[in-house]
């Protein structure tokens, strides 16, 4: 079935790389031209964030530290499951949400 271009579209590129919808929190929209949703490809969270960083330089380091850990006050969900590692796999029709934890500071 051909993929339809839409906000929820997930395309299989035939090489294990999926293009998924990514929800962008307000604190990161200065990088995405104020878009709250973007699409990017990757078979893992690592690959997805690498692509986003190429497109939006600086994006990744604000949420992933130099040891490849998700920063303490950032949460990343793949669909409804919280991802703890960048090796988390992405599959067709997954949706990635980058969220600001409630502990961001006074």
């Amino acid at each position: 079935m051909p993929c339809q271009e839409s906000a929820t579209c997930v395309r299989d590129r035939g090489s294990g790389v999926s293009e998924v919808k990514v929800y962008v929190p307000s604190a990161l929209r200065s990088y995405t031209g104020q878009k709250d949703e973007v699409e990017a490809g990757g078979s893992t969270l690592q690959e997805l964030l690498r692509e986003l960083d190429e497109r939006y330089p600086g994006f990744r380091f604000r949420i992933i530290d130099e040891q490849d850990s998700i920063r303490p006050h950032i949460k990343i969900f793949i669909n409804h499951d919280q991802a703890r590692e960048l090796s988390a796999a992405l599959r067709l029709e997954d949706e990635v949400s980058i969220l600001l934890a409630l502990s961001g500071g006074a």
Binding site: L28, F61, R62, Q67, R71, A101, G104, G105
Partner: protein
């Protein structure tokens, strides 16, 4: 690049204005106070007579801005270190006096640790220092936890200074995560000798004062004579808590520090910190965060004492804020509180939140954790409040435009 200067060469060479990293010329033009706060940056722009001030709108509102510093080699350029409650640390550069900002392509970060090992993470960039006058584009940054970083392209790309960050003694020098300020141990007071770009000092809370004579390749502790409360060892070699370390550009072998344990001066030929805070009034004590030097008088310095008794309130002693000035390198001190609240004012002035300009007479400025900015345009003789209701002030620096 010129070959490194030997120590003997350095000690025989007086700084010239062209080499001087802190130009001692008297400024006469307009100036701006670059105010870094817990919730964004603000500029207070003053006319050349420093009578009228205009507060900018917030810049990067909501960002935790730790330091904003003008580049004296390129006065339209400013670097800013910040993070947010959620987002990691970064550095922004403005080439247009703060009108526009560009983020560093490679912000200060520690190397990725090998698989199975725990690597360090920069929590925030705490300190920014322009490099030597002869090295345009070179900047240094100090981080929390303690790390030293250098940029050679005006702050766009940063690399760790391995001579410190990977030094086999670094962990011992700096202690653990508990050996630091409540919001993390810090590297600060990165000082460049105006005679020699290879000669540097750093201050660390915790850690102490350290010196490198080879551009950061190696480091030695420089704490003899200063008190440390974190070790039962008498006169320990390291583990001290300097809050603010200063080097006078006209007398680079004269160092001052406001330490967690008093106010000190070191003349390098002596090599020992002398506790000049012993000459402060006993009911005020010699505990505080900032220390400011007169730009043209190496014997003149200011401190802003805080209460270091019992549980360390870190507020103005007895609720009566005042600066103290010395004109004789700490042999005596004079209280300067005219214009400041006479009582019931529990101010805290952090280590980066007090500074001077280089006008004549010198202007002094400090910011408080309750969001006030105070100024004296006559070297502390009288103070006035320039701004209230700002967020918690972390740092104030002056941007001057020399004519």
């Amino acid at each position: 690049m010129e070959p490194p200067m030997s120590k003997s060469d350095k000690s025989n060479k007086e700084p010239s204005p062209a080499e001087n990293n802190h130009d001692p010329k008297t400024a006469t033009g307009k100036l701006s106070l670059l105010i870094a706060t817990r919730k964004g940056a603000f500029f207070l722009r003053g006319g050349k007579n420093r009578r009228k001030w205009k507060l900018s709108d917030p810049i990067f509102l909501g960002h935790m801005v730790h330091h904003i510093v003008q580049d004296p080699r390129d006065p339209k350029s400013i670097l800013m270190a910040c993070r947010t409650g959620h987002l990691g640390p970064t550095v922004f550069r403005s080439n247009y006096l703060g009108k526009t900002w560009v983020e560093a392509q490679t912000p200060p970060a520690f190397p990725k640790a090998p698989e199975g090992e725990t690597g360090r993470v920069v929590d925030h960039v705490f300190w920014l220092t322009p490099g030597h006058a002869s090295e345009p584009g070179v900047w240094y940054a100090g981080s929390s936890p303690q790390g030293l970083f250098r940029s050679e392209d005006g702050g766009a790309n940063w690399e760790g200074v391995s001579g410190f960050n990977d030094h086999p003694m670094r962990e011992a020098w700096t202690g653990g995560a508990g050996d630091g300020t409540p919001d993390g141990p810090k590297m600060h007071s990165i000082l460049i000798d105006p005679r020699d770009p290879d000669h540097m000092y750093i201050g660390m809370s915790s850690g102490g004062v350290f010196e490198s004579t080879n551009r950061g390749v190696d480091w030695k502790p420089l704490n003899k004579g200063s008190v440390s409360v974190s070790s039962p060892v008498p006169d320990p070699e390291y583990g001290h808590d300097p809050h603010s370390v200063k080097l006078h550009p006209l007398k680079p072998d004269r160092l001052y520090q406001q330490n967690h344990c008093g106010i000190y001066r070191m003349d390098r030929e002596e090599g020992v910190w002398a506790r000049i805070g012993d000459n402060m009034p006993k009911d005020v004590g010699d505990i505080g965060f900032p220390m400011v030097l007169h730009p043209r008088e190496p014997d003149t310095a200011w401190v802003f004492p805080m209460d270091g008794t019992e549980v360390w309130p870190r507020t103005s002693p007895d609720g009566r804020p005042a600066a103290y000035v010395t004109h004789d390198a700490g042999e005596s001190w004079k209280r300067q509180d005219k214009g400041l609240p006479k009582k019931k004012a529990w101010m805290t002035v952090k280590r980066q939140a007090m500074t001077s300009d280089s006008h004549e007479p010198v202007g002094l400025y400090f910011g408080t954790t309750n969001g006030e900015v105070w100024a004296s345009t006559n070297e502390g003789k009288k103070w006035e409040c320039l701004a209230r209701n700002l967020p918690h002030v972390y740092a104030i620096e002056v941007a001057e435009y020399l004519k």
